[in-house]
Amino acid sequence: MANSDPAPSPDHRLLLLRPEDNVVCVCANLAAGDTVSIDDREIAVPEDAAVGFKLARHDLAPGDKVLKYGAPIGSVTQPIAKGAVVHTHNLKSDYLPTYTLTGDTRFLETAQ
């Protein structure tokens, strides 16, 4: 489970933790328009994605479970296209709502 070695990914900026996962992890800061390779298909990242964020491995529909580490980490709330960032705007917890700060109250930039 969480402690196993991640599988090698053809694109070193992305990490697929488990074969059954439907998201890949971002290992290097990506800017909108950067081209990455997901499952051997070149795709332009539609928005900035900082280290630690997740990209959809395929198109996802509302109600789909997102799998990371081979485990469900929540449910999709909005249609997500392959390569798009999967985060609080399109994924929600199946346990407790996620609390975030917005707008001018952000205290750190996520991408540099």
Partner: protein
């Protein structure tokens, strides 16, 4: 081989700290003023702010003031607070440590109490500085782990690297403690498969169910806005990453704050109070969890952070394992281990795990961590209530 200071109860400490402990917020200022001139000489401030008595706080203060890293204790009382200063002083005295209680209302007020306190600290520091370190075996060491200021990299680098270090330690009979059942929501069934006995497996599943219920009542999980800024989306995603800190060994016991592991091996610390929801959030910030790990005897804390927490702790050194390579470059002066190198292909998980294991032994023998050298000695303790652990929670004596 590591070294430490022998204590009367048979344990050994890796530091020789003098604690100045206030027993109510009203004594906090005087206690802090006593510590200030000696803050670079292993003299540290802890305390409990409340005036109402609380069994959990009393147990925590007893365990912390008799922790093996502590050599002597000065208690600061206003005089009228609810804290049982008599029992605490007795426990410290019986542990063989120098102890003094100063009661501000009986000592002539702020200035005179400060003078008396500083004089005691100076005498006691000289006394403790004569003690010499002796050889200490790895199986005498207790190591706790926590993650804080987490982001999406924690579960990829620092946390699994700490898991590797924990595996190396449990093989050598180090007692290793991981915690925050509220950050393990979603991992309970997998943890159950690692429990040493079926009864312990049931206790572990029940402890996480308790945490889920507790946080549901409060309406808020253990998830800060900075976690989301760093790419973590949900509580269960954070849980999966947090869980990686526990490594792959069997879980031999389930303990609660202030319970000291009776043997080496991997323990889960249940930090969520028992019974109805009272007193608010279980741990209001990372240092509340660190204080609980230390009250369970942890000599050293391995702290995984992606966003970049800078905290240390009173009593036990904190080793900062930085998960995110971007954060490491920004906050290098605060970080002990660059686990983000794994993401950039410069290191492997096994290499970083080994580095954490090696550094733990160096720090145990006296080398200061980054946060120690920068003077970090944070501490917080608030109200909670617990029932004692059940009979299946500890490994049977062999």
């Amino acid at each position: 081989m590591i070294t430490g200071y022998p204590r009367a109860d048979g344990r050994k400490g890796i530091r020789n700290v003098i604690l100045v402990a206030y027993l109510v917020e009203c004594a906090h200022h005087v206690a802090r003023e006593i510590v200030w001139p000696y803050r670079d000489q292993e003299v540290q401030l802890i305390g409990f702010p409340g005036c109402f008595p609380n069994a959990y706080a009393a147990k925590m203060m007893q365990r912390l003031t008799t922790h093996p890293n502590v050599g002597g204790v000065l208690l600061l009382s206003l005089g009228c607070e609810g804290f049982d200063k008599y029992s605490l002083r007795k426990a410290i005295k019986e542990s063989g440590r120098p102890v003094e209680t100063l009661v501000i209302q009986a000592s002539g007020g702020t200035r005179k109490t400060m003078e008396a306190g500083r004089a005691w600290v100076e005498r006691t520091r000289k006394l403790l500085d004569e003690q010499e370190r002796v050889p200490m075996d790895l199986d005498e060491l207790v190591v706790g782990t926590i993650c804080g200021g987490s982001d999406g990299t924690n579960g990829l680098t620092a946390n699994p690297a700490i898991g590797r270090a924990f595996d190396l330690m449990t093989e050598r009979d180090v007692a290793c403690i991981f915690e925050e059942t509220g950050e393990l929501i979603g991992c309970e069934q997998h943890m159950a498969t690692r429990a040493a006995t079926p009864d312990l497996a049931r206790e572990i599943v029940a402890s996480v169910a308790k945490a889920a219920k507790y946080y549901a009542v409060l309406g808020h999980g253990s998830f800060a806005p900075g976690n989301a800024d760093g790419g973590l989306t949900t509580l269960e995603e954070k849980s999966m990453g947090a869980y990686a800190k526990s490594g792959a060994s069997d879980i031999v016991g389930l303990i609660k704050p202030g319970d000291i592991p009776p043997s080496g091996g991997l323990y889960l610390l249940d930090v969520v109070p028992d019974g109805d929801v009272r007193f608010g959030f279980p741990n209001i910030s990372d240092n509340a969890e660190i204080a609980e790990l230390i009250a369970c005897g942890s000599h050293i804390i391995l702290f995984a952070t992606g966003r970049g927490s800078v905290v240390g702790s009173a009593i036990s050194p904190v080793i900062k394992v930085c998960a995110n390579p971007v954060t490491y470059r920004k906050l290098e002066e605060d970080m002990d281990v660059d686990a983000g190198a794994i993401l950039e292909g410069r290191r492997t998980l096994d290499q970083v795990g080994q580095e954490i294991f090696d550094l733990t032994q160096t720090v145990a023998s006296g080398t200061a961590t980054k946060s120690e050298a920068l003077g970090h000695a944070e501490f917080i303790l608030t109200y909670k209530s617990f029932e004692p652990i059940g009979p299946s929670c500890l490994p049977r004596a062999s």
